[in-house]
């Protein structure tokens, strides 16, 4: 069964450094998402992406964050200058038809900012 994959599984970085989290969505899906989960808290929406542009973003998704679909398979989340509070599990998700469809999640990247 097709699945969403994410790399790396764990990323440790120093405060102020840039990180890029990578995702390969399910191949025939058209809608892509990033969510995050701070330890012990709810899963929170960050951004949705369709047709090569951001369709919606949350208040968390400020100027430090950006997303890109550099080719036909990858979907990336970049954090320009990481803060301690960016430490969280970051999940990528994809769906085929967006609003009326299931979102399938990847296994997550655990980001630790020191």
């Amino acid at each position: 069964e097709p699945e969403v994959t994410q790399t790396p599984s764990h990323q440790v970085t120093q405060m102020g450094q840039e990180v890029i989290l990578r995702c390969v969505p399910i191949s025939n899906h058209l809608y892509f998402y990033w969510y995050r989960q701070i330890l012990g808290q709810k899963v929170e929406f960050l951004v949705s992406f369709y047709n090569n542009e951001i369709s919606e973003k949350s208040e968390i998704f400020d100027d430090q964050f950006s997303v890109e679909r550099p080719d036909g398979s990858n979907f990336t989340l970049k954090i320009r200058s990481t803060k301690l509070e960016d430490s969280a599990m970051y999940f990528c998700a994809s769906s085929h038809r967006g609003k009326i469809d299931t979102q399938y999640f990847g296994p997550g990247t655990r980001l630790t900012v020191l």
Binding site: Y31, Y33, Y35, K42, V43, E44, F45, S48, S55, E56, S58, M89, F91, S95, G98, K99, I100, T102, Q103, Y104, F105, G106, P107, G108, R110
Partner: protein, 114 residues
């Protein structure tokens, strides 16, 4: 209660028993999804129920939706130790302006004792 809030927060049962988890939400929804998360791992999609559906089954899972009460329940029958995980409901709000982001609840931690 907050959008997508589950109860109980924690549930401990014996293997073979049934487990029931509830979810309440505030705004009108397009659909509601249930996910499972093993400790520190990714989100596994279990079942999606649309706002015009009242009940749905998948294997040992039964989901009900009461849009008049803005609530849903997830029943796991004949539980197994492998069902030990956190269970989340996630809603997709009906408003066009809300896009297709999912709003997650706080989750129910289920422990199934062998």
């Amino acid at each position: 209660s907050q959008q997508g809030e589950e109860d109980p927060q924690a549930l401990s049962i014996q293997e073979g028993e049934n487990a029931t988890m509830n979810c309440s939400y505030k705004t009108s929804i397009n659909n509601l999804q249930w996910y499972r998360q093993n400790s520190g791992r990714g989100l596994v999609h279990l079942i999606l129920i649309r706002s015009n559906e009242r009940e749905k089954h998948s294997g040992r899972l039964r989901v009900t939706l009461d849009t008049s009460k803005k609530s849903s329940s997830l029943l796991i029958t004949a539980s197994r130790a492998a069902d030990t995980a956190s269970y989340f409901c996630a809603t997709d709000a009906l408003k066009k302006s809300s896009g297709d982001k999912l709003t997650f609840g706080t989750g129910t931690r289920l422990a199934v004792r062998p």
